[in-house]
């Protein structure tokens, strides 16, 4: 995986300011977080496979063990895998290449971002060695997070480190995109992935500080004796929930936008087609989504005792998200129309993404309705909904990205057979896992329960099927990730542009790209776009 010609030296990686190496460091860190959080998911699923204690010791301490797994699964998947996998790995590796730049605007700040990210991973992993393991879920709602015996500070510091890392990365990439595009490259000639990161990072820059302030107040309440969230002393419980979701709903789009961006790249390349209605997807889709993203957070507080007018107002704004997302979807589907589609591993994931986007997106509509949400919210219906769109759709986009750019990154081709078998395990497994949860969710199965003896006996059957599905996914994940490692070492050598793409990272660089990226400075003319195949 080296991007320089000399042999491997660890210090050359740790102190590297090359965006490609930093991207790979992000990838390794986020896959590590993904693996540990994935093991937590398996533990959760085994525990839920039957009512009563399955692998936890007994009914009295069972919750203490199970809640730590849930906490780590949620926090690590979102903060440690999805956001860094997309805006860390993919954005780092690809943005400068796609816009024809030698590196990012501030390479040293970029190195600081990845160090902070790794520090965040280490702090998150300390969950497993401290005696008072954090158990506050990834949401960390007070008063529980203030009164629990669990170590809330680990949660706060993980958010601080990851958040600081994200803010630095956001500033860095926004400046890079605005000022370092190749001469002649206009805004309407940018790759969709560049646009998706541009919009996602604007969200990060605006909203991460709000989350950071919320968890900092939590830290003060817990350890310094302040009362921001303590109603007995004039504080307010709901203040935290508002601050938290004011960031954390837009954060969903920080994940969703680059995931869409990756699938646009794959579709355009594999179908050898221009992006269908590019401007509608960019301005009506991505930019409008950023504009709406900050006005919908109340849908996470539909049954939290907020004033009714606010619940109704944000029901309307939440429903209106269908406009930008719908325009992006039409453009994604339309890119296939009259194409010349080649099927390979990235395109397998792309085709699955069409389905995942629809299931995950459409099941969000009942949850957007205040009146529906008072029943479906906090049930396994909600859980299955956000796993389809944010969990699986986005995870598949990271996998598709690694598979698609693998020849460029490693200089070698993946083992196609192993990749395809891994895909089928992943795809079939996620459906077996999450469809049963949709069904019992409508019947009232709550989230975050490890025991459900009070519910009808047939729930156990559905949970059992979901657990089997989780293990099928696990096989697929092991096959996929081991394929990357083995193929990086001994895969067949790749040519410079194996997919015949028209994007700069394929047409103008060596495989893998050397330091400085481009052998000759890049300029483009007014007719160039990454998608002009005719």
């Amino acid at each position: 995986m080296s991007t320089a010609s000399s042999g491997f030296k660890l210090s050359e990686w740790i102190f590297s300011t090359d965006h490609k190496r930093i991207g790979i460091l992000y990838l390794i860190g986020s896959i590590a977080a993904f693996a540990v959080a994935g093991i937590m998911a398996l533990l959760i699923r085994i525990e839920q496979s039957a009512p009563g204690p399955t692998i936890v010791s007994d009914v009295y301490t069972g919750g203490d063990q199970y809640n730590v797994w849930l906490y780590f699964h949620g926090a690590a998947m979102i903060l440690g895998f999805l956001i860094p996998g997309l805006t860390g790995f993919a954005a780092n590796y690809l943005l400068p290449l796609m816009i024809g730049a030698k590196d990012v605007a501030f390479p040293r700040i970029n190195a600081l971002s990845v160090w902070l990210f790794w520090a965040g991973i280490v702090v998150a992993l300390m969950t497993f060695i401290v005696p008072d393991k954090p158990d506050v879920m990834w949401t960390g709602y007070p008063p529980y997070s203030v009164t629990t015996a669990g170590n809330t500070s680990l949660y706060v510091f993980t958010v601080h480190l990851m958040g600081f890392s994200s803010i630095l990365a956001a500033v860095n990439f926004l400046v890079t995109i605005i000022y370092m595009r190749a001469p002649g490259m206009g805004w309407n000639q940018l790759n969709m992935f560049v646009w998706s990161c541009f919009t996602a990072l604007i969200i990060q820059l605006i909203f991460v500080p709000v989350l950071a302030s919320a968890v900092t107040l939590l830290l003060f309440d817990r350890y310094l004796g302040t009362h921001f969230f303590d109603p007995a002393n004039g504080g307010d419980v709901l203040l935290y929930q508002n601050l938290f979701w004011f960031y954390s709903h837009p954060a969903v789009y920080v994940i969703f936008l680059p995931a869409m961006g990756i699938f646009y790249e794959i579709f355009a390349t594999m179908a050898k087609n221009p992006i269908f209605n590019y401007k509608a997807a960019v301005y009506g889709g991505m930019c409008l989504l950023v504009a709406i993203s900050g006005e919908v957070w109340i849908h996470h507080l539909y049954y939290s005792g907020m004033p009714d007018w606010l619940r109704l107002g944000q029901m309307v704004t939440t429903l209106l998200i269908s406009v930008p997302v719908g325009l992006m979807t039409i453009s994604l589907f339309g890119t296939l129309y009259k194409g010349a589609i080649t099927f390979n591993i990235p395109m397998y994931y792309g085709t699955a993404a069409l389905y995942l986007l629809l299931i995950g997106g459409l099941t969000g509509i009942p949850l957007a309705l205040t009146a529906m949400s008072v029943h479906l919210g906090e049930t396994s219906f909600t859980h299955a909904h956000f796993h389809f769109i944010m969990g699986i759709f986005a995870t598949f986009s990271v996998f598709a990205a690694v598979d698609f750019w693998f020849p460029k990154i490693s200089g070698r081709m993946l083992n196609v057979k192993q990749g395809k078998i891994g895909f089928w395990f992943n795809f079939i497994g996620v459906n077996i896992t999450f469809w049963p949860l949709f069904i019992i969710g409508v019947e009232g199965m709550p989230r975050r329960y490890w025991d459900y003896s009070q519910f009808p006996a047939h729930f156990a059957g559905y949970h059992k099927v979901a657990t089997i599905g989780a293990f099928i996914v696990a096989i697929g994940m092991v096959m996929t990730i081991s394929n990357w490692i083995l193929s990086a070492i001994k895969g067949e050598k790749a040519t410079d542009n194996p997919w015949g793409s028209n994007s700069l990272e394929w047409t103008h660089t060596a495989t893998p790209p050397g330091p400085g990226n481009f052998p000759k400075p890049v300029t483009v003319d007014a007719n160039w776009t990454p998608y002009t195949y005719k």
């Binding site: 879920m137 709602y141 009164t147 109603p231 209605n277 009259k338 080649t342 989230r447």
Partner: protein, 243 residues
């Protein structure tokens, strides 16, 4: 092609609107029934949109496979008017559906929030990890999930019940799955929900906001009984408390 797609979408919405028109009015407000009714409409709505998109997507994926190496796609280059219409028309169709759903959702939401005047009031207090109920006639009950001891919430059939709720420690949520309703409880605020117990029998309410170790066990019996039985129950509770 363009025309075919928009015709399909319009047909879908038309069909949908026609179905929505049939048999709306319920004499007495019953949010549970309205929820079930709305759920049915939402499912149809989602199925129409999902099937249109998924069919188009999968059909195109299958139909436009490359047949020879180095083949180039023949995707359309939209004219200015084409591009604008392909943004504005779908945007309005999506908005139409949004406002249609919002209007229906709004109606049901009003039922959920407007408590009938004759509602019986019960005060609910959530604590880690149990529920306590206080009736306006002075009776108070609890429920212990471990031993399954205690009366839980007992209400007479046919009379709306409003719960005024608060918490002594952390955030909880009173979730009645069979009545399709939940609302959070938290210290420092009083929240409410109401439901219409139309069927006799026993069901459960369970906590739906993460509250620590025994969150999964924070449930209570909810019993709906005939008025006569309820009156005897109340008398018995008062006697028990007095003795």
């Amino acid at each position: 092609m363009k025309r075919a797609v928009s015709a399909m979408v319009l047909m879908g919405l038309g069909l949908h609107a026609a179905m929505a028109g049939a048999g709306e009015k319920v004499a007495m407000p019953d949010p549970t029934a309205s929820w079930n009714h709305l759920w049915y409409h939402v499912l149809i709505d989602l199925a129409i949109i999902g099937i249109i998109f998924l069919t188009a997507g999968l059909y195109w994926v299958w139909k436009y496979r490359a047949t020879r190496p180095n083949q180039i796609g023949e995707g359309p280059k939209l004219s200015k008017i084409g591009a604008i219409s392909f943004a504005v028309v779908p945007a309005f169709l999506f908005m139409a559906d949004d406002f249609y759903l919002a209007a229906k959702g709004w109606t049901v939401w009003n039922e959920y929030r407007n408590v009938p005047r004759n509602a019986m009031e019960v005060k609910v207090t959530g604590s880690m990890w149990s529920w306590a109920f206080e009736y306006d006639n002075g009776v108070s009950t609890t429920f212990m999930p471990d031993s399954k001891e205690g009366e839980g919430l007992v209400v007479p059939v046919g009379k709306p019940v409003v719960l005024r709720m608060t918490s002594t420690d952390v955030v909880h949520s009173f979730f009645l799955p069979d009545y399709r309703v939940k609302e959070d409880l938290m210290p420092g605020r009083v929240t409410y929900l109401w439901f219409q117990p139309n069927k006799e029998g026993e069901t459960i309410a369970t906590c739906a906001e993460y509250c620590g170790n025994r969150h999964s066990f924070m449930w209570t019996k909810v019993k709906v009984v005939p008025q006569a039985e309820y009156d005897t129950w109340v008398a018995k509770q008062k006697q028990g408390a007095g003795a």
